[in-house]
């Protein structure tokens, strides 16, 4: 589904060259939940930018859903981002003045063909993350966890091949973070491919496979037979007071 072949990235500042990725190769199959781990300075962010088609590698090849991404021009790569990738950022990146619904609608407005059932898609996306009753709320009326769920709904709305989550729990307390992880696990259970970038071992342990990046290379690639279950952790944390995953918790 996704394949990186010998991806390199070197930053240049004047005459000084800083190699950040020194040949990264791996495959992700459809329906996998992969965590990419690494301390800061290991090229994690750079890799994530290339995976998200936000940045162009210096060398190598990136196949996403059968498309050789970097054979395309900027406009076409924008379309690839729109159609194939759903981003979830650490800082949520919601538009302050727009309602949850309008935020979720945003990717569809950039689609090559605006779908006729756009608002229905947004509604069902928001329902999938348990915010069916908060669609008219603005980000500043929502808790951090709820804002991140809006962002997940936004990532889902285009039915992308890949959900790319960059430290999605980094700005959240433990409970909200677990809620987000349980939603990602639920989506993965429904067959979606999820790639999670994190420096946090605890968070990474929720994935079925962990790639560890060190000094610009894949250092370790290991499968987890029994990843952590965020829903169960949540249950344990709240003593069962928690609603089902994605339910409303007002932890503001």
């Amino acid at each position: 589904m996704l394949e990186m072949i010998d991806i390199t990235k070197t930053y240049r500042a004047g005459a000084i060259e800083t190699p950040v990725l020194r040949g990264v190769s791996f495959k992700v199959a459809r329906g996998e939940f992969v965590a990419i781990m690494g301390a800061s300075g290991t090229g994690k962010t750079t890799l994530m930018n290339i995976l998200g088609c936000l940045d162009v590698p210096t060398g190598g090849k990136y196949l996403l859903d059968g498309v050789d991404v970097f054979q395309n021009n900027d406009d076409a790569i924008s379309s690839i981002r729109n159609e194939k990738i759903g981003f979830v950022f650490q800082q949520f990146h919601l538009l302050d003045r727009a309602s949850a619904l309008d935020n979720v609608l945003l990717p569809l407005t950039y689609a090559d063909k605006y779908p006729a059932d756009a608002s229905a898609k947004c509604v069902s996306s928001l329902q999938a993350v348990g915010l069916g009753d908060r669609m008219d709320y603005r980000p500043n009326q929502l808790s951090g966890g709820q804002q991140q769920r809006v962002a997940i709904a936004r990532a889902l709305v285009t039915s992308p091949a890949l959900i790319l989550a960059d430290e999605p729990t980094g700005n959240l307390d433990r409970q909200s973070g677990l809620e987000i992880m349980s939603i990602l696990q639920k989506l993965n259970g429904e067959g979606r491919t999820v790639v999670l970038i994190t420096h946090d071992q605890n968070i990474a342990e929720h994935a079925g496979r962990i790639l560890v990046l060190r000094e610009g290379r894949i250092f370790e690639d290991s499968k987890r037979e029994a990843p952590l279950n965020a829903e169960k952790e949540l249950f344990a944390l709240t003593g069962g007071a928690q609603l089902e995953p994605g339910g409303c918790s007002n932890n503001r």
């Binding site: 406009d75 729109n82 990146h93």
Partner: protein
């Protein structure tokens, strides 16, 4: 659009320049239009086929100066017989504030001694009685044609035809009455006049051998310039004026009248036009700066939009649209303010200002243009941001 509401003060500042510019422009256009109409009116008052020949040279426009009188009857005769295209010619001499009386009533009138073609020359025909004829003219008869103010002041509405009035201590028989003409553009009463034969005026009343002006009518508008220059050449020759000596007379044509009026209106309009352009440019620069600031502030939003699949063009258009929305709102505000100001100016100066579609179209066009031109650089900068840099 979402972003525009966020910084109300800033948006207001951007619009302000455009508001000032567009309102100034609206005033300019409406004033220019009314000024233009006034020019046309003046030309029509003067007569589009008329040429005036004044005694006395110099630059100052005229009102015949009664103290300068270098034109002779022979000059008039020469113009009439030697210049082709002259339809009629009326020499005249004019004296303001001449005492006139009828029985026990008296009034100061303007006495005009004129040729027999006076009615035709001025398109002003007696409404009752007759104009004096060739015989009166040749015989230096003491006859007069009087204006409505004179009728009112001396006769108090009674019919003056056939009555005798005293003008400058001589008796004149009233032959005809002119219809009212009202106030001249210079603000003088046109109806307080008494017309007497030029011969009578020169020889018997004022005792002069020269007169102050000649009014010439040409057959066709297209002939005016040619006839005017031929008259000038002819009079120079007759008065024996050679270069570098200046004319001791002055030929005035309708386009000089038009030019004079336009000059006055034009200066004012140029000032306002400069205000317009300056404030639009100032507004544009403010817009550009604030949009650049906005691009910096909204880097994350731009990065997000790019990450979600927005193309460079989408971002460019979004920012351009915001600029244009700002300036267009300013344009609408300016238009409203400008129309209000035009109406106010019209009321205060008792001058007519015209409201028409041109300033509306111009306001929209210009504010759109300002938004596009000055919004382009910030929009390009926004579109050029690298998504990774923008999201960081």
């Amino acid at each position: 659009m979402i972003a525009l509401g966020r910084n109300k003060t800033r948006s207001f500042l951007v619009m302000l320049g455009v508001v000032v510019g567009i309102s100034a422009l609206t005033v300019v256009v409406s004033m220019a239009k009314s000024a233009n109409r006034k020019v046309m009116q003046r030309v029509n008052n003067f007569g589009p086929t008329a040429i005036m020949l004044f005694a006395g040279g110099g630059k100052n426009l005229p009102g015949p100066d009664p103290t300068v009188a270098t034109l002779t009857l022979d000059d008039a005769k020469a113009v009439e017989t030697q210049v082709r295209g002259v339809k009629s010619i009326c020499p005249q001499v004019m004296r303001p504030m001449v005492p006139a009386s009828y029985r026990d009533r008296s009034y100061e009138v303007t006495v005009i001694g004129a040729g027999t073609a006076w009615q035709d020359a001025w398109d002003w025909y007696v409404s009752s009685g007759d104009f004096y004829d060739e015989q009166d003219y040749a015989g230096m008869a003491r006859v007069a044609v009087i204006g409505q103010t004179v009728v009112r002041e001396l006769f108090q509405g009674a019919s003056p035809i056939g009555e005798t009035i005293r003008i400058a201590n001589a008796n004149f028989k009233v032959k005809g009455v002119l219809p009212a003409k009202g106030t001249s553009p210079m603000g003088t009463d046109m109806d307080e006049r008494v017309i007497i034969p030029l011969t009578t005026a020169m020889r018997r009343t004022f005792n002069v051998s020269t007169f102050t002006m000649v009014r010439v009518r040409v057959s066709a508008v297209g002939d005016v310039q040619r006839v005017a220059s031929e008259i000038r050449a002819l009079i120079r020759e007759r008065h024996n004026i050679r270069p570098p000596d200046l004319d001791d007379f002055r030929v005035v044509t309708p386009d000089i009248i038009a030019g004079l009026s336009q000059m006055v209106a034009g200066t004012l309009n140029r000032v306002l036009l400069a205000v317009t352009i300056l404030s639009l440019v100032a507004g544009g620069i403010v817009l550009m700066n604030l949009m650049l600031l906005s691009v910096t502030e909204r880097r994350h939003e731009i990065g997000l939009r790019r990450a979600l699949g927005g193309k460079r063009r989408d971002v460019l258009l979004q920012f351009l649209f915001e600029s244009v929305a700002l300036t267009s709102s300013g344009g609408i505000g300016g238009l409203v303010l400008g129309i209000a100001a035009s109406l106010l100016v019209g009321r205060l100066t008792a001058k007519t200002t015209e409201i028409s579609w041109e300033p509306v179209a111009l306001a929209f066009g210009l504010s759109l243009l300002v938004g596009l031109v000055f919004g382009l650089l910030p929009a390009r900068r926004a579109a050029g941001l690298h998504p990774v840099e923008a999201l960081r």
